[in-house]
Structure formats: C-alpha cells, structure tokens
C-alpha cells in the first residue's frame, strides 16, 4: 500500500504540490489525471524517491521515503518499484536485452548467465521478440515504450509507476499499451500508479482515478463516478472543454518547464 499524506513540493519557491493526500490500495491501479504542470509527474517522482517532498510523508509497506537518509536505505526502498518514463529513457549505448536486464545487476542476485533468457521472457510478456540485439535508436516509439515496460518489470517489482505511458503514441499503439498494463496487472498482481491526461486510457486501465489540480487532489473515485462527476473542474477536464474554471488558472499556475527541470537538476546535484 502507498500512503501519501500532506505531500508538498516547491521548485524555487514555486509550489507544485500543495498537500497531496492519496492512498493506493494493494493490487489496484490508480490513474492520476490532470492538466500539464499540475504536479502529476512530480508526485510520481516523490513516490519513488527521485524528488524529496518538502513536507508530508509517503509510506510504502511501512517505509516512509521522507525519513530515509542514506543512499543504501533509499536504494532498498526503490527495489520494490518499477518505473516507466514518459520518453522511455532507454540507455542509448546498450542493446535492448541489456536495457531490459540492467536493474537485475543492482536489484537482484540473479546470475548474469540468465540475463539473456530473462530479457527474452520479459520482452515476450510485452509482445516483442527477436529485438534483443537492436539498439534503442532502431526502435519505433511504441516499441521503446514496450521495452521500457519490460525493463520496469524485469526485477519483478511490487509496484509499477507509469509516467504518461501513452503520450506520443498513435491511438492503436496507445490501446496496445493499455492492454499491456491491464495484462501485466493480472499476471503480476502489482499495485500501479498511472499518471496520464489520456482519458480513454485512464478509463480503461484504472480501478480508481484521482484528479489533480494546482497541486491538490480534487477528487478520488471509481472511473464510472469520475465520468459523471459534478465537480466543475473534474467535469471540464474529463470532457476536454476549453471553457470552464480550469482554463486560465492552469495557464497562470503552470510552472515553466525550465524552472521545474532546473529545480530537479539542483535537487539531484544536492542529493549527490
């Protein structure tokens, strides 16, 4: 179970998360929806410990990430997660099979002689074969996402965090990824958080949905409830309307990408 309480995060005095309270139950898939810059990806990075919240706590299986101090403790905490990055973030210099098994070397005691066969198995799980020796630059966008997904599940994590899994893909490939997420959920019995603003995807894969706006949770509910939500902000977002209470506020609030990125760069360097 993931239990986030009062999570706050600012970049250069600009608040991005303003007190997030979310509980993700064992085995469920929670889709976090919301406009660009509302803090979805920032929250996901706080959960896995890539960013440290300024306030609040995130407890996973009784372990609070905000209380972990040493690199070894944080590494131990991260062992239980698989993370799918928005742009796949495959290592350009390594072939596909080494990308898939990269984490096994550091997260498990699996003998290296088994890496190649494990890579084949995990790639088969995401519907790919005979691409083990290709480089990431030789793959299409959809294939990269699937290889990244194979990498995320290679060490058999208990939790998978998806950051915009369908962004940049055509509708058919998006649906293939959605089916994969559902399929993996059934086969691996993992707990997942999916950050997305693709409503079709969110409705299909989520057991519950949480709407974020201006760094706060507006509503957490079953997808069928979200569809008929009476909250004006949620209503506007799920219907994809330009007119409504969100429009101007998002533009006023949206932190500049550079600033957020710089803030992350500073934090990464500080952590080191």
């Amino acid at each position: 179970m993931i239990d986030a309480v009062g999570v706050r995060k600012s970049f250069r005095h600009r608040p991005v998360l303003r007190g997030i309270d979310i509980i993700v139950e064992e085995g469920e898939t929670l889709a976090i929806i919301g406009g660009s810059g509302c803090g979805k990806s920032t929250f996901l990075k706080c959960v896995i410990g890539l960013l440290r919240p300024d306030e609040g706590s995130i407890t996973v299986d009784g372990m609070d990430i905000t209380k972990l101090a040493t690199e070894a403790e944080i590494a131990q905490y991260r062992r239980r997660f698989g993370y799918l990055f928005q742009e796949a973030a495959l290592f350009d210099s390594l072939p596909v099979w080494e990308n898939v098994t990269f984490g096994l070397k550091y997260l498990t005691d699996t003998p290296r002689s088994r890496f190649r066969s494990i890579a084949g198995d995990k790639l088969a799980l995401v519907g790919l074969k005979d691409i083990e020796d290709l480089r990431p630059s030789e793959l299409s966008g959809g294939m990269k996402k699937r290889v990244a997904l194979a990498r995320a599940i290679a060490a058999e994590p208990s939790y998978i965090l998806y950051d915009e899994p369908t962004t940049g893909l055509d509708p058919i490939m998006s649906d293939v990824i959605n089916d994969l997420i559902i399929d993996l959920q059934k086969k691996l019995k993992v707990t997942s958080i999916v950050v997305t603003h693709d409503m079709r995807s969110a409705y299909k894969i989520a057991s519950r949905m949480a709407m974020l706006h201006e760094g706060k949770v507006l509503q957490v509910a079953h997808p069928e409830v979200i569809k008929i939500s009476t909250n004006a902000h949620v209503r506007q977002f799920v219907d994809g309307l330009s007119e409504g209470p969100i429009k101007m506020k998002i533009k006023e609030y949206e932190p500049p990408e550079d600033e957020e990125e710089q803030g992350r760069a500073d934090e990464t360097a500080r952590r080191r």
Partner: protein, 263 residues
C-alpha cells in the same frame, strides 16, 4: 544602476558558490562509491578506448607540430645570436617533457573527450536516463562518473608520454632536415641534461589534469538542464572550464612540484 550591478554580482557569486558546493559533493560521492562498490571495469575499458585510443591521432598531430615549431624557433634564435643552432634538443626535450607534453595533451583531450563526455551525460540527463539509473538501483556517480575518471587517470598520463615522444620526434625532424643538426647531437642535447625528476614533473601534472578534466566534464553533463540547447551550453562550458582549469592548475601543480624539488 549600482544596485543592479551589485545584484548581478551577488547572484553570480551565489550561483558560483552553489556550483562549487555541488561539485565538491559529487567528488565526495565519487570517493564514497569508489571505496564502497565494485568498479564497473567494463565501462572503464570502454571509456579508455574512447578517451585514449580515439584521442591518439589528434594528440599526436598537435604535439608533433608543436615540437617542430619549437625546434624551428629555437634554431632560428640560436642562429641569429650565435650563428649556430645550439641546444635545440635540450629546449625541445625539456619543454615537451615538463610542460608542453602534459598541457597540450590535456587541452586536446578536454576539447575532444571532455566535450563528448559532457554532451553524452547531458543528453542522458535531459532524456531522463540519469533518473532511470536511480530507479534501476544504481547511482550515476557510480555507473558513469567513476569509470570516466579512472579512464582519464589511466589514459592521460599515457597520452602525455606519447605527446613527449611525438613532440621530440617532430623537433628532430626539423633539427635534422632543416637545421642540419646531426641526430647524435640532438639526442645528446636532450639526454645529457635530462633526469628522472624532469620526466616526473610533467608526468605527475598529467594526473592532476586527468582528475580535473574528468570531474569537471562529468559535473557539467550531470547538471545539464533545458533540453538540446542546455546540452550545447553545458558542453561548451565543460570545455571552457576544463581548459581554463588545466592552465590554472598547471601553475599551482608546478609550484608544488618545485617546492618538493621535483623539477
């Protein structure tokens, strides 16, 4: 106007101090991981190939011509003063071994391999590959920085020795074919006066340069932000800062070695 000037100066000072602090933390982290984890030797070998082998042609070319220029200038000056090209080998040999070998090889390698490192790590940073390393159970300093630092520390001194030889060889080409100095005289001019300490002076400096270039270029790469433009900026900054650092550290390293009597 004055307020704005001091404001900008203050901001620059704070940013520089912050960067210096982050740099120190990265060096500390590298020391920690070096002592606490298994070195990624495969990565070290890959980087040695990239830094060492691939830099060899450009280091050879630049130092060959540097030695040739030195010989030509020394011969011309000596001819003008004494009507005879005296001590050409001595000047070329000592200049290359103590100063130009280590400095030229360091400058060339920071321009070539240092830029490549900053661009590679910068691209990894802006495409989330650095964050991916964290999520896959390792630390970028351990996986990326330490192999590059070790590769630099092994290859730069070797390149320095090569630079010494090619520079001295270039000097001999000019001394023999242009100035008419017999080969024996040229080599005697070098080895009659040169001692092991003279060699060690330049050799030890190349280790200092190796640490400086590798850490600076890795740091610039890992602190990249702002997409493709940011990668360009950090690559340029890596080359400028590491080249400047080589020249500044050259003075201080020389001062320390002189104080220790290694000259």
């Amino acid at each position: 106007m004055i307020g704005a000037f001091f404001g900008a100066g203050g901001r620059w000072f704070l940013e520089t101090a912050e960067s210096a602090g982050q740099f120190a933390l990265m060096v500390r982290s590298a020391a920690f991981w070096f002592l606490r984890s298994r070195v990624e030797w495969r990565q070290v070998l890959i980087q040695m190939l990239r830094i060492g082998v691939e830099s060899t042609p450009v280091v050879t070319m630049t130092t060959l011509f540097t030695g040739m220029v030195l010989a030509l200038q020394t011969g011309a000056s000596s001819n003008a003063l004494l009507n005879e090209p005296f001590f050409v080998g001595t000047v070329v040999g000592f200049s290359m071994v103590m100063e130009l070998g280590p400095v030229m090889s360091a400058l060339v390698v920071s321009g070539r391999a240092g830029a490549a490192i900053a661009a590679e790590l910068g691209t990894m940073k802006v495409t989330d590959q650095i964050d991916a390393l964290y999520t896959l159970g390792t630390d970028p300093v351990r996986y990326l920085v330490i192999p590059r630092v070790l590769a630099f520390v092994v290859t730069l001194p070797i390149l320095k020795i090569m630079a010494d030889f090619t520079g001295i060889f270039g000097g001999w080409v000019v001394a023999y074919f242009k100035l008419g100095i017999p080969t024996n005289t040229y080599w005697h001019d070098i080895f009659d006066y040169m001692e092991v300490d003279n060699f060690m002076h330049g050799f030890l400096k190349s280790f200092v340069f190796a640490f400086a270039i590798s850490f600076i270029c890795c740091f610039k790469g890992l602190t990249t932000s702002g997409g493709a433009e940011g990668v360009g900026k950090s690559t340029t900054a890596a080359v400028v800062v590491s080249m400047t650092a080589v020249l500044i550290l050259d003075y201080f390293a020389t001062a320390v070695l002189v104080a220790l009597g290694i000259t």
